[in-house]
C-alpha cells in the first residue's frame, strides 16, 4: 500500500511540476483525479451537493493560483485538502450560515463515520439515485467471476498496489491489470444504462 501511495505522490509531483512549468493541461488531470474527493469533503461543510460542487470548483481555482508557491513540502492532496476546508468555511461565513453542527478535524476528516447522516441531508431524488447506484454496483460485483472480484476488491477496498495483488493472487502483474479492468467493464455494463436513463 505504501508503494501505491508513493506512486500516486510521484505522479502528483510530476503533474504539479508540469503546471509550474506552464502546462495548464496537467492541472486538468489533477482536477479529474481529485474532484470526487474534494466535493465529498466540501459537502461535509456546506451540506448541499450542488453548492458543494461550486465551492469545490472555487477550491481548485484557488489551488491553481497558489500553485506557484507550492514547494512540495507536503503531498499535493494534503495541501489541496487544506485549501478545500478553508474555502468551505469561508463560503459558509460569507453566506452567514452557522450550521456548525459538528467540527471536522483535519486528521479525522477521512473517517466518514457520519456518511449515513450526510445522506439524509441529500434531496430525495439524489438520495434515491445514490441508493440505486450503490445497489447496482454491489449486485454487479457479487456476480463477477471470483478472480475478478478478488482483484478489484483488493485494489479498491484494501488499497493494495498491483504488485501486492499479484503477490497475493500469485499471478503476473499483467493478469492483475487485466482482471481489474475487466471487472470494471463488467460493472460498468450494468451501471451505464442506469446513469444514461
Amino acid at each position: 500500500m505504501n508503494e501505491d501511495l508513493n506512486h500516486s505522490v510521484d505522479l502528483d509531483q510530476q503533474l504539479v511540476l508540469r503546471v509550474q512549468q506552464g502546462d495548464k493541461s496537467a492541472f486538468d488531470l489533477l482536477v479529474i483525479k481529485y474532484q470526487h474527493r474534494i466535493v465529498h469533503l466540501v459537502n461535509r461543510y456546506v451540506k448541499d451537493p450542488t453548492e458543494a460542487q461550486d465551492v469545490a470548483q472555487d477550491t481548485f481555482i484557488k489551488a491553481y493560483r497558489a500553485l506557484g508557491d507550492f514547494r512540495g513540502e507536503s503531498a499535493f492532496y494534503t495541501w489541496l485538502y487544506r485549501i478545500a476546508i478553508n474555502t468551505a468555511k469561508n463560503y459558509l461565513l460569507s453566506r452567514s450560515r452557522r450550521h456548525f453542527d459538528y467540527e471536522v478535524e483535519v486528521q479525522d476528516a477521512e473517517l466518514v463515520e457520519n456518511a449515513a447522516q450526510l445522506k439524509d441531508l441529500d434531496t430525495p431524488d439524489s438520495s434515491l439515485m445514490n441508493e440505486q447506484i450503490v445497489e447496482v454496483i454491489k449486485y454487479a460485483i457479487e456476480n463477477l467471476p471470483e478472480e475478478m472480484r478478488i482483484a478489484i476488491t483488493l485494489r479498491e477496498f484494501e488499497g493494495m498496489s498491483y504488485e501486492e495483488i499479484a503477490d497475493a493472487m500469485d499471478c503476473p502483474i499483467g493478469t492483475v491489470r487485466s482482471r481489474i479492468f475487466r471487472a470494471r467493464e463488467a460493472i460498468d455494463e450494468k451501471l451505464q444504462p442506469l446513469l444514461d436513463n
Binding site: 486538468d28 479529474i32 460493472i187 460498468d188
Partner: protein, 169 residues
C-alpha cells in the same frame, strides 16, 4: 482501440499510468466525451467499493475549471534554473575562449622566442673590430647564459647564474 483506451482509463484510476500516458489520455478525452464519462463511472464504482458516499458530478465540472484557468496567468517557476543554466553555459564559453586565447598566445610567443635572438648588451668592441661589431667571446658568453632563452627551452642555453659571496672572518 476503444478497449485499449478504456484499459488506460482503468490504469489512470489506479495511478498506474505513467505521467506522459496520463496526459495523452487526458488530451484524447477532450475530443471523446464518452471517455470522460467512462472515467467518471469508474470513479463512481471506486467510491462505492470504498464505502464512500457517491456523488454524481456535473459532467462539465472539470471543464468549467479548465475554462476559468484558461484566463489565469501561466507559471514560469523554474526561471531561476534557466538563468543558472545560461549563466553556466556563458561561463563555459568564456572559459573556453580564454583557454583558446592563452594557447594561441603561447604558440605565438614560442616561435618568436625561439627565433628571437637574445638582445645583446653592447660590449666594448676591440679596436681591431668595426664599431658596430660585438666581441665574439662576450657574445658567446651572453648567449650561453641568457635566462630568457633558458626559460623558453632554447637549445644549448644555460640558466643565469648568480654568484653570492660571503665575507669570511
Amino acid at each position: 482501440m476503444q478497449e485499449q483506451l478504456n484499459e488506460k482509463i482503468s490504469l489512470l484510476v489506479d495511478d498506474e499510468l505513467a505521467c506522459d500516458q496520463a496526459m495523452s489520455i487526458l488530451k484524447t478525452m477532450t475530443t471523446e466525451p464518452n471517455l470522460k464519462s467512462k472515467l467518471q463511472r469508474y470513479q463512481l464504482i471506486s467510491q462505492v467499493l470504498k464505502n464512500e458516499p457517491c456523488y454524481i458530478l456535473d459532467s462539465h465540472f472539470a471543464d468549467k475549471i479548465h475554462q476559468q484557468i484558461r484566463h489565469e496567468p501561466i507559471f514560469f517557476l523554474p526561471a531561476q534554473k534557466s538563468k543558472t543554466k545560461w549563466r553556466k553555459t556563458g561561463l563555459a564559453v568564456a572559459a573556453s575562449i580564454l583557454l583558446a586565447v592563452v594557447w594561441i598566445v603561447g604558440k605565438l610567443n614560442k616561435p618568436e622566442t625561439l627565433s628571437r635572438e637574445p638582445q645583446m648588451a653592447s660590449a666594448p668592441v676591440p679596436a681591431h673590430l668595426p664599431a658596430n661589431a660585438v666581441n665574439p667571446r662576450f657574445k658567446d658568453y651572453l648567449q650561453a647564459h641568457d635566462n630568457l632563452g633558458y626559460i623558453n627551452n632554447a637549445p644549448g642555453v644555460q640558466p643565469y647564474a648568480r654568484v653570492v659571496g660571503y665575507q669570511q672572518e
